[in-house]
Symmetry: C2
Subunit: 354 residues, 2 copies
DNA sequence: TTGAAAGCGCTACCAA
DNA sequence: TTGGTAGCGCTTTCAA
């Protein structure tokens, strides 16, 4: 008895010109179901009917209501991305590469920045869960696994990128961080550096891995590891990079004026380190060789073009996004997959002494 | 008669541990309505009841279903952001500033990159419309107004940032581009430059404004404007910046070996220009002074620290986001607002000749 | 102060 | 091949 509604004011289409299936159905004298099926390419619709429907849809600029669809199917066609910092070119590049995969596949990408703050990140993950995203990609600042447990409880697929959580098996796309540290430090050793410092990060896996590689390279070369040669910088806020590197290097130079090599956690840190070195009246690479990490896209344009370790951020983004899509489509949860990208040394002026 | 459902298998809570209002209602012996009202702080719920409800919600980690809510209220609590390039630090900074406002306000930010491609941008705007975002913030690569007309038809508020569309009245937050060009060029003139080139962009408002400022500055100083001193670079793809500036400058130097100043469309272009100049064996600023635009956060760390015009990208992001939120909450569409940020010259090494 | 009924726009399921 | 019915989880409206 609700068949022929709108008995009085039979406005053709209603408020805000937002066309619904019902409108098209009435317009063509078909049922909503037929429209729905035609739209989704269901097999049991006559070709002729389907084309009639599709044609009218285009004419009316019909766009399915995501919310209504999501309510039934449980799929929001939305993927959440959590990064520590949108400005850091490494993550910006990853975000771009992810978007390049998810966008054409019909997914919206909700991007949030945790500012490298574990507490904030937990809230953002909770927000994304509340939004019922279909999957998440996370470069985490966490050390605890609480948030990930929440995600798993909800049976939402997720992929960790860049940073992994020790002892927590999850889908992961990143770099062999120990190899990064090895590559960078061995290069400095080959360049004849004898007193090499490392500006390290916090308890994040990437920082720990690079530190391990650093130690390993020294051991392999039978060089003594001076604990004071390792300085950790905080991971707070905007200036995490340049400022952190700058201040750490300044202190290092006061204690060790004869330092001749520095391996830095990442390129922004290396930029700060170079500033401190140059301000101290020392030359790069003649007095001190500097190696960064990340191969951020402007590192070749710096005051002294920076030797660095490339991590192929575009590949990280691309693979993590593809993995994500495959997880969404998977019927059953497949076992956690790990994808490690091999780092590559990019030699520039800042480290070449021979 | 659907009162006491789940007659046989009275599972406490259903699949995937996603708690619904109904679950809480049954749990507490209340109606769904009471839960709904308590959750939203409706006035006509007894304080005691509300607290009971809220307590149980927290315990069960209840999270309202956005899709269901959106279906009724028409609000998705989602804002769409369209930028030409996520990697360009100028837009990355804007995105971060926007997120800093929208996130705490409870909105999700769907970020898409148009790659400075008008066609792609149109598709992305259509996608965001299909998602029924509550508002959009757009740094557009369009010259046509077609997409914006679509947005207006839907009565979705939107704010243009950085780039405006000539003759199209819309909410806008950006910079006085002519002032940018004036500031930069006058500075070069004050530094004694006599033969100043400008590496310009396409038909985007920012590029045109800066070009106008450039011309105006020359006119004010009674200097002759040599049309060949103005070179436009394409706006295609990743290398739009550095590579474009590099190649344009190389050509310029072949034709005008005695050039003594260059005002560049933006900082990445200036980086490319500087590379070309240095490769040609010329010195910066002694032979050629260079000024960029954008004050991208690493411009002080470049081979030659770059003089540039600061556009306060953080302010652009903040104001546009705030405007956006106010538009969403507005009952009636207020008249279009324009917010112009005053640019500021940042003098560094690349231009100082006296 | 509480709750029953209706329905947002769509799809799953089944009957015709 | 088509369409009726039911219902996803929530809010709006109005009655108790």
């Amino acid at each position: 008895m609700t068949q022929q509604n709108d008995p009085v004011k039979k406005r053709r289409f209603r408020k805000g010109s937002v066309v619904r299936m019902k409108d098209i159905a009435q317009d063509l004298g078909l049922s909503t179901m037929t429209i729905s099926k035609a739209l989704r390419g269901h097999s049991d619709i006559r070709k002729e009917t389907r084309e009639r429907v599709l044609k009218r849809m285009r004419e009316l600029n019909y766009q399915p209501n995501f919310a209504a669809r999501a309510l039934i199917t449980g799929r929001t066609w939305t993927i959440g991305l959590v990064v520590p910092d949108l400005i850091h070119p490494f993550f910006a590049q990853i975000a771009k590469a992810i978007s390049a995969v998810t966008q054409p596949a019909g997914y919206g990408l909700v991007i949030t920045s945790s500012e490298d703050n574990a507490e904030l990140e937990r809230k953002e993950i909770a927000q994304l869960l509340a939004r019922r995203v279909d999957a998440m990609i996370i470069a985490s600042a966490q050390v605890s696994t609480e948030s990930f447990q929440l995600i798993e409880n909800r049976r939402i697929p997720y992929v960790l990128i860049d940073r992994r959580i020790s002892g927590w098996p999850a889908n992961f796309v990143g770099v062999d961080d120990k190899a990064v540290g090895l590559l960078a430090t061995q290069h400095l050793i080959e360049q004849g550096c004898k007193r090499i410092a490392h500006i390290a990060g916090g308890k994040i896996s990437t920082a720990l891995g690079r530190l391990n590689g650093f130690k390993r390279a020294l051991a392999v070369a039978h060089m003594r590891l001076l604990p004071a040669h390792i300085v950790s910088i905080g991971t707070s806020g905007d200036d995490r990079g340049e400022l952190g590197g700058y201040e750490a290097t300044k202190k290092l130079l006061q204690i060790f004026p004869r330092l001749d090599g520095v391996f830095c956690l990442n390129d922004p840190v290396a930029m700060g380190a170079m500033r401190a070195i140059l301000e101290a009246g020392l030359r790069i690479p003649k007095d001190i060789a500097v190696v960064g990490c990340g191969n951020v896209h402007y590192s070749g344009f710096l005051r002294v073009p920076l030797t660095t370790v490339d991590q192929d951020s575009t590949a990280i983004g691309k693979y993590s996004a593809e993995l994500c899509l495959s997880l969404i489509d998977a019927k059953r949860t497949p076992p956690a997959k790990e994808l490690l990208i091999t780092p590559k040394l990019i030699v520039r002026e800042s480290s070449v002494r021979r």
